[in-house]
Amino acid sequence: MKHHFRAAVPVCFPLVFVGLLVAVSFAGPALAADTSTTPKASFSSIQIQPMDANDIVIPPEFRVAVYENVISQIRKTGKFQHVYRGGDKDAAAAPDLVTLHMTAQSFKKGSQKKREVTTVSGSSSIVLKVHITDHAGQTLVDRDVEGKVRFFGENLRVTYDFSKKVAAIVRDTM
């Protein structure tokens, strides 16, 4: 009997530990949600303006990929009924429209080959200032967001990383 108990301890301990981890991971966000008291503003539509390169040399494929990825990721958040593109005439009629502007701060193209061969060099990065304003021009979000590819993936993947972060900001703010 004693022998069986001793044998069961090493098996049970990891199970209990994993169970505790799962419980904490579920309880964590719930606690965090309780502590955050800032009310989220809700808007039905957003217009995303094309990126302002701000005299920084960014290849056109990166500019376009940033824009299209941001459109795609913000649609996926499900926060807005309408996601308008820059220049869309229908956006003028939207009652509670917010506008997202992106201004380039820095860009480093990097090299996929270097990244994957050396691991420590060749990383790609793009930093853009994300500025979201409401219909009255009041600033809702104003922060620098960085997209990175450190190890694996094509250089254009920085635009995907960046857009995921922008979508997370939009999800948290609105």
Binding site: P50, P59, P60, E61, R63, V64, A65, Y67, E68, N69, Y84, R85, G86, G87, D88, K89, D90, Q112, K113, E116, V117, E154, N155, L156
Partner: protein, 196 residues
């Protein structure tokens, strides 16, 4: 005897009278062929001159182009067919096709880049190669052309699309689109020596 001779003469006359028209038919036949060929070639030259002088070729098709992003209804990273026809660019994938008017294109740019030879699931498999063998395989890559389009839709909304083509295939598409009225901030590569 005379009757026999007459018969022979008549027969020879008949033979000679038969031979003369045969030669005439052959000459006419040859003459007709020569004239037909001359007319055929002259018409081709005339047509070629008119098309070269007035407008560029009407249709350009590029298959097996990777649409990296910006296809709207077409999934990203699909292999599409680009067709420049009339005054539009058609992006086709299976039964889905997207039309972009050349007049709505704000900018076209071409760029060179490189893509690794081993991608996707095979890339994951290379990670399992011991002693850094997978890293060595990362050194194998090939050059590609990147074609970027910026255009507006019917509502004035800004769109962009990025395509990856085999090396040397992006410039003809850009040239054709510019000829059809699309705008390009960077000049065509072929246009540079002509300006000098």
């Amino acid at each position: 005897m005379t009757s026999i001779q007459q018969t022979i003469e008549n027969s020879s006359a008949a033979v000679s009278s038969f031979r003369v028209p045969r030669r005439g038919v052959g000459a006419r036949f040859l003459f007709l062929i020569a004239m037909g060929a001359a007319l055929t070639f002259s018409s081709v030259v005339v047509q070629g001159q008119t098309t070269d002088a007035t407008q560029p070729p009407q249709r350009l098709v590029q298959t097996d182009v990777k649409l990296v992003i910006g296809g709207d209804t077409i999934k990203n990273n699909s292999r599409v067919t680009l067709t420049v026809m009339g005054s539009s660019l058609y992006i086709a994938f299976g039964k889905t096709a997207k039309q972009v008017d050349c007049s709505s294109i704000l900018d076209i740019s071409t760029n060179e880049d490189s893509r690794q030879d081993i991608t996707g699931a095979a890339k994951l498999a290379t990670m399992a190669i011991p002693y850094g063998g997978g890293r060595v395989l990362s050194l194998f890559s090939h050059s590609v052309d990147v074609l970027t389009l910026e255009y507006t839709d019917a509502n004035g909304g800004y769109h962009g699309a990025v395509f990856v083509l085999d090396k040397g295939q992006a410039a003809p598409i850009k040239k054709q689109l510019v000829a059809m009225g699309a705008k390009a901030s960077a000049p065509l590569e072929e246009a540079a020596p002509a300006n000098k």
